[in-house]
């Protein structure tokens, strides 16, 4: 039995009578990619928001690396090692690609409040940022304003921002949405490489990518986890076929 790095128990969130997440229990092991799939509106992104702390949960608990983070703020959770991407690209539009990455490196390197040294003269920060840009294949576009990047490149940059934080876990919300084949392959290879350092909870609609990557898959429907298992188990699960996958795969 592998150790759990992220352990979520009975997490619930309701808006009035509507339960967006309903007593969700899910975990993430070391060295693992755990995919979370389900139809639109099933509660996947809300679950991510609850884990990062941007949406307050009603009940439940979240343990990260044996530390209870249930009552921590979103910033505190990010500081102690939860790194995310957003469903819709959320970057700093007027910053260049490399400056976006540098921003993400500042907290770890205790440079947030450094006031009188030019950040652009900090060779260490920019060298690290360049390494990350190379990982996400954006080296040639490092000086391009983020707002001028294509949709696919913005998705890559999102992942780069998460990588720069060197977190304990990654929460990736549809990182491959809108990527072409080479972009998707790059992401698949990258995720396989980084999961040993920081396991990944992955929300993704691209089933080929999910089946290529995931060690375990959980299926969410109407705010409830309806199945968890290996890729083969999930593929064969009748209930999952009914609610999400269908019978053509």
């Amino acid at each position: 039995m592998k150790n759990k790095i992220l352990d979520i128990k009975n997490l619930s969130k309701s808006y009035g009578a509507f339960k967006v997440t309903d007593e969700i229990t899910i975990d993430l092991h070391f060295d693992e990619i755990h995919a979370l799939i389900g139809p639109n509106g099933a509660g996947k992104s809300t679950l991510i928001k609850q884990i990062v702390g941007s949406v307050k949960h009603d009940i439940g608990s979240i343990i990260l690396d044996q530390e209870d983070i249930t009552d921590l703020t979103d910033v505190e959770r990010a500081k102690i090692g939860i790194s995310r991407t957003f469903q819709v690209s959320s970057i700093i539009p007027q910053f260049s690609a490399i400056d976006n990455i540098v921003l993400s490196l500042l907290d770890k390197s205790n440079k947030t409040f450094q006031m009188f040294k030019s950040v652009r003269n900090n060779k260490g920060l920019y060298s690290n940022a360049n390494k990350i840009l190379k990982e996400i294949e954006l080296s040639k576009k490092s000086d391009i304003s983020a707002s001028d990047l294509s949709h696919g490149d913005r998705r890559k940059l999102e992942v780069g921002l998460a990588l720069a934080m060197d977190p304990k876990v990654f929460l990736f919300d549809e990182p491959m949405a809108g990527l072409d084949e080479s972009g998707t392959n790059m992401m698949i290879n990258l995720f396989k490489k980084i999961k040993s350092n920081s396991p990944i909870l992955l929300i993704e609609h691209d089933m080929d990518a999910v089946f290529a990557l995931a060690d375990r898959v959980s299926v969410i429907n109407y705010g409830k986890i309806v199945a968890t298992g290996t890729v083969d188990e999930i593929r064969k699960n009748e209930l999952v076929r009914d609610v999400y996958l269908g019978y053509e795969i």
Partner: protein, 327 residues
């Protein structure tokens, strides 16, 4: 951007030349006018840090400008009248020494900005605008109803505050004192904007949620920017009181906050020299149009509307485009 930098250097050349020419041709009026531009430019640069670079639309910077002015006026008033300010817990009789006054102004403005920031930065958008406005108006009404220091009529100080071995009553000398502060404020602002801290607060303006998600406490960053911004504007208020040798509640009124905001918008939001250019434009307009009509602000409003509709990024950007086209 390079063209803008050249233009900025020309601004500094003019700031040296105009008062010197005023002195040579014995026209102290122009020295006083340029001094006013420099002081209001400092106030605008202070606001620009919060508004232009960090996206904090403060409509209450008159509070800091007025506080700086009143602290200067009150300290000077007691020193000149040899009256005690306090007798408990320690005895103090005010001061007319700028070297004493400036640190007190800086500390008190920073403290006020800290208090206002702690409360107002918990809100965003229109609520932030209204809270900052409310704080400034509170101080305005307090000043009006404080008869010890002139109430509605304001407070006159008969002698400009002093600096050791410097004749501050000489207009050109006082101008260069103000210019020193302007250059220092520009230097500090430039350093801040280009630093890691500057990168963070400029990112907050664009996407605060993203900045939080990379583990940065945006509240602390915004609070610090607000305090620095308020402190700079407070310092400008102190110099303004010394320039006029007078302080009245009008500098605490919302109109003052609006004027400082106009300097920033006219010159160029998030441009280092923008508020200085905006203040100069405002003063020139006041002096030229004001000599023809009392309603010169109508024309200011019209110019502001046209600028927002067609230029948006301020006078400096207009110059940049023109110069690029000429090339």
């Amino acid at each position: 951007m390079i063209v803008e930098k050249i233009f900025n250097k020309w601004i500094l050349v003019f700031l040296f030349l105009i008062p010197v020419l005023g002195f040579i041709f014995e026209e102290p009026y122009y020295i006083t006018l340029t001094t006013k531009v420099v002081i209001l430019g400092i106030a605008g640069i202070g606001l620009n840090l919060a508004l232009g670079y960090c996206g904090l639309i403060s409509f209450g910077h008159a509070a800091f400008f007025g506080l700086g002015g009143y602290v200067t006026g009150i300290l000077s008033f007691h020193a000149l009248n040899s009256e005690l300010m306090f007798s408990w817990p320690f005895v103090t009789s005010g001061s007319s020494n700028m070297l004493v006054i400036w640190p007190i102004v800086i500390l008190s403005s920073a403290f006020l900005a800290l208090i206002i920031g702690l409360l107002s930065l918990r809100t965003t958008g229109v609520y932030f605008i209204m809270i900052t406005l409310a704080f400034a108006q509170m101080l305005y009404f307090f000043a009006i109803s404080w008869p010890s220091y002139g109430g509605e009529d304001g407070l006159s100080i008969y002698m400009r505050n002093s600096l050791p071995m410097v004749n501050t009553m000489d207009p050109l000398t006082f101008y260069f004192i103000c210019l020193f502060w302007l250059l220092l404020v520009i230097f500090i602002s430039a350093k801040l904007i280009n630093s890691s801290f500057g990168m963070v607060f400029q990112a907050i303006k664009q996407n605060e949620e993203r900045v939080k998600s990379v583990g940065i406490e945006t509240f602390k960053v915004k609070l610090l920017v607000f305090v620095i911004s308020g402190t700079i504007t407070g310092l400008a208020g102190s110099l303004y009181t010394d320039l006029n040798r007078f302080i009245s509640p009008s500098v605490l009124n919302w109109q003052m906050s609006g004027e400082i905001m106009v300097f920033v918008i006219l010159g160029g939001i998030a441009r280092l020299y923008g508020p200085l250019v905006g203040a100069a434009f405002f003063i020139v307009l006041e002096q030229t149009l004001g000599s023809y009509t009392e309603n010169w602000q109508f024309w200011l409003g019209l110019i502001l509307i046209l600028e927002i509709l067609y230029v948006r990024t301020g006078i400096l950007s207009l110059f940049e485009k023109k110069l690029k086209y000429e090339k």
